[in-house]
Amino acid sequence: MAKVFFISILSPLAVFAFHIVSIRVFGLERKLAGQSIVGLSALAGYLPVALALVSTGVLKEEGWWAAIYVFISYSALAYSYFHIYNMSETARRIRILRELYPDRVMSALELESGYNAIGMLENRLERLVSTGQADERGDRYVLKGRLIRYAAKAVAWWAGVLGLPFKKF
C-alpha cells in the first residue's frame, strides 16, 4: 500500500514536468493553445504513472484496483493542475491580485481602467476556435465541440442544485 501511496503523491509531478518541457524545450505555446498543451501534458503523464505501477510491482502485488486507484487520483490531480494553469491564464481575480502585488493600492476605477472588455472576449473566442470548440463564420460564432457544450450544461445544472443563480446574458 505504501508504494501505491507514493506513486499517487508523486504522479502530479509528471504533468508539471511534461508541461515545462513542452514550453521551455519545444516552444509549443507558439503553436498550440495553452489549455491544449496542459491537456496533452496530462495525457502524457499517464505513461510514467503506468510504468511506475508495473516497474515497482504494484500491479502484481495489489492487483487492478491499485491501478484504478492511482489512475483516479492522478486524473483528479491532473484536472486540478489544469484549473491552476487556467486560473493563471484567464482568471480576472488572479489578474487583479497580480496588479496589486506586492504593495500597490488602487481604486476599483484604476483597476478597471486596465480592463479591456473586447480583448477579453477576443481571447476567449480565439481559444474556443483554436481548441476546436467553436467555428468562426464571418462575424458569427457557432458551437462545434461537444466537450464545452456538456461542460456548460453541467455547470449550469450544478449551479441550480446549489441554488446559485447561473445568469445567462
Partner: protein
C-alpha cells in the same frame, strides 16, 4: 484496494452532499473557506476518530482513503469558481449552444463583457475571501492575497510564460 477506492469515493460524495445542503440552507459569505472546511478540515478531523472506531482498518488504508478524497476534492474546489463566478467562457458556450446553427454575432456576445458583469463582482469575491481589503475606496492585498499572487507569478515564471491575460 477496492474497498479503499470505493470508500474514498463515498466519502467525497458525502462531502459533496453536505456542501449542497449547506449552500441551499444559507450561502456562506466566504465560500472558499467554507469549501475548505467541508472537504478538507471535517474529513481530516473525523479520520482519527473513525480509525479508533474501526481498528481493523490499517493506518495505510486510511491514508490512501484520505489522499484519494483530497484529490477528488481539490478537483471539485478548483472547478467551483466556474459555477459561482459565471465563467465567461461557459456563458459564451451556453449562448452559442442556444443559438444552434445560426450562431451568435460577436457584438451580441460583447454584452456580457461589460464591466458591471465581470469586474466589480470579482473584486467583491476577493474581499469576501479575505484576499484584498477595501478601505476608503482603495484596494490592497492582504497577506493571504500576497501569498496567492506571489504563487501565480512564480508559477508563470517557472513555466517561462508571460503574465496571464485575465
Amino acid at each position: 484496494m477496492r474497498s479503499v477506492t470505493v470508500a474514498a469515493i463515498l466519502f467525497f460524495l458525502t462531502c459533496l452532499f453536505l456542501h449542497a445542503c449547506v449552500w441551499r440552507l444559507r450561502l456562506p459569505r466566504n465560500r472558499p473557506a467554507a469549501l475548505f472546511f467541508i472537504f478538507i478540515l471535517v474529513p481530516s478531523a473525523l479520520s482519527p476518530f473513525l480509525s479508533v472506531l474501526m481498528p481493523s482498518i490499517p493506518i495505510e488504508a486510511w491514508a490512501l482513503l484520505l489522499f484519494l478524497h483530497f484529490s477528488l476534492s481539490s478537483a471539485y474546489i478548483l472547478s467551483y469558481p466556474a459555477v459561482e463566478a459565471v465563467s465567461p467562457t461557459l456563458v459564451i458556450a451556453l449562448q452559442l449552444c442556444e443559438a444552434g446553427e445560426n450562431g451568435v454575432a460577436r457584438a451580441e456576445l460583447a454584452d456580457f463583457f461589460k464591466s458591471d458583469n465581470v469586474f466589480r463582482p470579482r473584486i467583491n469575491d476577493l474581499i469576501d475571501s479575505g484576499l484584498v481589503n477595501e478601505r476608503d475606496g482603495l484596494i490592497s492585498l492582504t497577506s493571504k492575497g500576497k501569498t496567492l499572487a506571489g504563487f501565480f507569478i512564480l508559477y508563470r515564471r517557472a513555466l517561462g510564460l508571460p503574465p496571464g491575460r485575465g
